[in-house]
Symmetry: C2
Subunit: 411 residues, 2 copies
Amino acid sequence: MPRHRITQTDVAAMAGVSQATVSFVLNGSTPSGVRISEETRQRVLDAIRITGYAANPAAQRLAGGLTQILGVFTYEATFPRVSQDFYGPFLVGIEHAAERLGVDILLFTSARVVDGRRRLTRDGWQRLGVADGCLLLGQHEDRGELQHLLDTNYPFVFIGKRGSDGNRLPYVGADYVGATMRQVDRLAALGHRRIGYMGMRGTDQPTLDRVEGYRAAMRARGLTARFVELDDLADAAAEILAQRLTAVVVAPENYPEELADELELRGARVPDDVSVLLLGQPHHPRRGGRRWSGFCVPREEMGVRALHLLSRLVAADGGRSDREGRRTPGVPDAELHQILACPDVEGATLARPQADTLAAPRAETLAQPHADTSRTDRRDRTDRTDRTDRTDRTDRTSRTDRTTEDRTESA
Amino acid sequence: MPRHRITQTDVAAMAGVSQATVSFVLNGSTPSGVRISEETRQRVLDAIRITGYAANPAAQRLAGGLTQILGVFTYEATFPRVSQDFYGPFLVGIEHAAERLGVDILLFTSARVVDGRRRLTRDGWQRLGVADGCLLLGQHEDRGELQHLLDTNYPFVFIGKRGSDGNRLPYVGADYVGATMRQVDRLAALGHRRIGYMGMRGTDQPTLDRVEGYRAAMRARGLTARFVELDDLADAAAEILAQRLTAVVVAPENYPEELADELELRGARVPDDVSVLLLGQPHHPRRGGRRWSGFCVPREEMGVRALHLLSRLVAADGGRSDREGRRTPGVPDAELHQILACPDVEGATLARPQADTLAAPRAETLAQPHADTSRTDRRDRTDRTDRTDRTDRTDRTSRTDRTTEDRTESA
DNA sequence: TCAACGTGATGATGCGCATTATTAACGCGG
DNA sequence: CCGCGTTAATAATGCGCATCATCACGTTGA
């Protein structure tokens, strides 16, 4: 048994050339004034075929070449538990794309968790090096780390839109803004006018986008934006009824299932009395739970696209850092930021509003256990200020700040 | 920005020692007559801490060291789509274990598919090399490839019991035999006597084990083994009723959901008239489908255990092939083959047999659309011959061949 | 006084490949 | 006959690390 794996030197010997020549043939030669005659080229190629030579990735990488290994790193404390997790489906897409691309996937499961999120420090950096490039998942990325990636010109792609200073960061995101607008439109088309929004806390990009979409769509229809945001779901349900909302859109992380329970507990049926549209897939689908209407984030597709993009970046980069500071021909800027559409989902939580609700308020007939009507949420604007740092957003038609409008409404 | 990543040489310079010394300190020095005084050791350690040095995996690997990267290879044509697939849950467990172990996971998604299964030829071999060791998934392993792994002393662990010449192959499997026996016992304990088995085709290990368990348990209770195996599920359902079986155990790949449909179509309720126990998790769970009784394979746990075992093998091996042919102290043989218990699942498809069924046959009252009663399956022994090559099985109490018994029964 | 030995560390080498610098052979005009 | 440009290929180097063979320097025992 050839304990000694076949190397370029072996191939070279068989072809009667030098190791360097083999390397040149394998890599298209071009680098400097090196030429290989078509004849020897064929000889080498034959030798490779006969010996079944295959490059040693470690050696390739050490010498500055490419490995055909792409990495996946996540900022979340726990690595995508491939299905239970929100991030799981991305991995599925990534795997799929990797198969087609013929690359291997390296999961950086070893990165240490510090302060509830994974860090890319120290050993992290070095480990990244085995891969030609890396996919980044999760919300809580670290500025310093990113800067380092940028500085070293290490190819990477984010999964999930990057708002702040996003034009520097390649990403594949989902069109939360547009999809949310469509949900409002669906409701409006059925006759809904009092449409609420639940779940606007958090400064993560999806939430910001959903809120933006909601605001824009409501405004476009001349409707009033109403935010329901209470710590307690029971209170929230009460508030929805108190405000005589006929529909709410809600982000999936806000326990829609439980919200519906609370609503029905108070005599309001879903969707007959209150339609509920989910702005994404349910996070913890209940066994035999509702089939939610709303939209779904094409997570697998995002994974696929992200890996393809990364693959292109790597190819463009040639894996080497550019010594002259000038970028290789590379990838057109348009592809650097991809926003994928989120298709609507036809579920069982969307219905026409009740006729009487349309005509006149009769919410009083609905039970309001311990609802404090005057307690309209005032927190819906607390973090409005942070929108200022998002002005450098790239695409999406810019929407003016409608803070004042909201303020008058939510009183 | 230090484009030049920190190397052992840098650390050495700071500590005022040679690069070799740094390497020794990092690896516990021992190799030959090398000694490092505690003082310099500390000096080096400090330098490492200060510089934040971390080894370059590619270089380590090239020089014959370990990478802390463990690979996952699958023989299936498609890589475990991390949840839809049967193999998905294993990956989840593997990820989990990897996090705790502090290793990275390399998915060999690039291996080419030949003849419907992935191959480890050529480039495959080399790519394996980046990882310290590798987990193997799937049924259709190739002899030649395994032999090569064995020859090169490359550390690997199978997920799933390996019957044929299993003592040479480290694996983590599930106790299909025992679990299947328990299912029969559950049924018998409720009063079932006419218990059938469906889904015995195939020579994969799980199937062999299930059949073995069924046979053993039936025999232990003095009951008659009855195999139902028809190409058409409708026929199978008819056969079950014709034979007046009050219960069947069925492997999950045999469309239990559809079988139940067919049974009920013929007026036999599940489980009231026929109990159905599933020998594993359902493969394609239907939305709002039955909650199956039976047992479940602890797939995540298997993934975890497998990775742990692999990790130990790697550590024992030192990553180097043994030049003298003698194994490193290593892992006790007992751990090389792990069989995990499959806990019972309490579902809704198990019930006491009908009183009248117990007393006297009255199957005639049940509809038998186009059942050919005389058509007892004769195929249930066609591949019995291949059991001969399994005589070298390791653990599990050996069970004598009961072919004759079955033959008399199935007439 | 010197060989024998233990201690603490270093220099050199090679893993397999990419790449740069250099060489060899050849044709050709002056 | 020499210098020059062109083509075709090679030698040499280094990536970062593990390891083997050595070496310098005491300490002992005879």
